[in-house]
Every structure is written in structure tokens, then in C-alpha cells.
């Protein structure tokens, strides 16, 4: 994947602050492909309660400010059947947090 350890640390710290450390964070889209260059950072955030619009907006703003790159966020509630788009993100994405 094309994220530096520092970028991963910033992403997780931001999600922890806004939602909590139980939230799973999956990188998907072009950033999982090592052969591509540049591109937005696409994140799927999964939590026991659906991450709210304000939380997602705050995470997006904080990450775009810290990383200086466009960030897109998809939110999903744990235990709910993923939509087709979420399923693609989950199947092709890379979890950023080590399994507990």
C-alpha cells in the first residue's frame, strides 16, 4: 500500500480521537495499489455505531489538513450487511489496524 507509517499513525490517531480505538479502518481504492501514483486516500471506517456525518466531516478535515491530500470516507456499522460498494472496499482493502 502507498501510505507511510507516519500517515497510518496520523489516520489512526485521528479516528481514535473522533470515534474511538474500537473502530476498524480499512484503506481501499488506488492507494492499495503499489503501481499507481498519487491519488486520494479512501478509507472505510467501521464501528459498532455508525460513524456520524459530523464525525466523518471532522476526520476528513483533520486528515486533509495533516496529510495535504484529499481524503474520502465511507462509514459502516459493524454487524450490518455491507452495501456492494462497502463489500468491494472490504474485500480489496487493507486494514490499517493490527487485529486485536
Amino acid at each position: 500500500m502507498r501510505l507511510t507509517p507516519d500517515q497510518v499513525r496520523i489516520i489512526l490517531a485521528t479516528v481514535d480521537r473522533q470515534i474511538g480505538s474500537d473502530a476498524d479502518v480499512v484503506l481501499f481504492g488506488s492507494r492499495v495499489n503499489d503501481d499507481c501514483r498519487g491519488g486520494d486516500i479512501d478509507l472505510l471506517i467501521e464501528n459498532s455505531t455508525l460513524p456520524g456525518l459530523r464525525q466523518r466531516a471532522s476526520i476528513k478535515l483533520a486528515l486533509e489538513s495533516a496529510l495535504q491530500v484529499s481524503v474520502d470516507i465511507v462509514a459502516k456499522r459493524k454487524g450490518v450487511t455491507p452495501t456492494p460498494f462497502q463489500a468491494i472496499a472490504l474485500m480489496t482493502g487493507i486494514p490499517l489496524r493490527a487485529p486485536s
Binding site: L50, G52, R54, R56, A57, K60, L61
Partner: protein, 179 residues
């Protein structure tokens, strides 16, 4: 500034103020036809309700229009006040200091929140309900900014909305005594 140009600048701000009042009026009207808060189950049960989804689409559009119009008017008002405003962040900082907007962070969260939903293409009723409930919760924040901004323009730079067509409705919705 050339007097004729200055007059046009003032008239433009007056028309922007009227547009702000108009946006509040129509946003309020769209929200008034919806029973709050929305629930995913209710939306799913009414998935073919043209009136309901028409109102929701209108809320999305008018919420964005209100914030953008207010932003354009704030930038223009700063120019007329001879305040330096090279970036929009400076405009926000100026009006935050005056208490017209609650905070720069709130303004940006509002803007990002509404844009996030505009880029969601799937039909997930839980997300749709959460999105519109959040916009509905944020509405009073925008209304308060609209009220304080119209008051600021009247009191500080002597410019009122271009017409009184929406004035009474605006006051009834946002409260206060703005013209």
C-alpha cells in the same frame, strides 16, 4: 473606489443579503414538510414517496446554497469594510471574531458534512436518515449566522437586503430583529 463602482458593490451586497433571506425561507419550508427526526425504517417504508424525497433533495440543495451565499456575502462585505481578505479563511476569521459565525471549525464541518453526503451514491437508508438529521441539527447554526450577518451589515456598513419581500419571514424563522 470609484463612486459608481462603490454603489454597484453596495447593491450587490444588498442583493446577496436578500438571497440569504430567501435561502433561509426556502430551506425552512423544505424542512417544515418533513417529520423529524428521520428513521431508516420510515424512509425505507416510504421509499417511493415523491414528496418526501423531493423535500429531502431540496434541503440538501438549499442548505448548501444558504451556506455558499452567506460565504459570498461575507467576503463581499469585508471588501466593502476595507478589511483585507485574500483568502476565505481570513473572511471566516474576521466574522468569527465578530461572533457572526460560531467558529471556523463549525463552518468548515458544516461545509464538509454536506459535501460528504453529496458524494454518497448508494441507497443506504440508515446513512440517508443520519445525514438529513445532522443537516437539520446544523440548520440553527447557519440561521444564527445569517441573522447576525444581516444585522452586522445593517448596523455596521449601513446595507440592508435589496427588498423587504422576505424580511418578515426571515425574522420569524431566525428570530431577532434583522431587517
Amino acid at each position: 473606489m470609484n463612486p459608481a463602482l462603490l454603489e454597484h458593490e453596495k447593491q450587490h451586497l444588498a442583493s446577496l443579503l436578500e438571497a440569504v433571506q430567501r435561502c433561509v425561507y426556502f430551506l425552512d419550508a423544505a424542512g417544515g414538510s418533513v417529520t423529524w427526526p428521520l428513521a431508516a425504517q420510515g424512509l425505507e417504508q416510504h421509499k417511493k414517496d415523491k414528496e418526501l424525497f423531493g423535500a429531502l433533495a431540496a434541503i440538501n440543495e438549499r442548505f448548501a446554497k444558504l451556506q455558499d451565499t452567506l460565504g459570498a456575502a461575507m467576503r463581499h462585505a469585508m471588501g466593502l469594510s476595507s478589511e483585507p481578505a485574500e483568502t476565505f479563511l481570513q473572511v471566516l476569521a474576521f466574522f468569527e471574531k465578530l461572533g457572526v459565525i460560531a467558529s471556523i471549525a463549525d463552518w468548515q464541518t458544516c461545509r464538509t458534512a454536506r459535501n460528504l453526503a453529496a458524494h454518497s451514491y448508494e441507497t443506504d437508508y440508515e446513512s440517508i436518515a443520519e445525514h438529513f438529521n445532522t443537516l437539520h441539527e446544523m440548520q440553527p447554526v447557519l440561521y444564527a449566522s445569517a441573522r447576525k450577518f444581516v444585522s452586522y451589515c445593517c448596523a455596521t456598513i449601513g446595507i440592508s437586503p435589496a427588498s423587504i419581500d422576505f424580511a418578515d419571514d426571515f425574522i420569524a424563522i431566525v428570530g431577532g430583529d434583522s431587517q
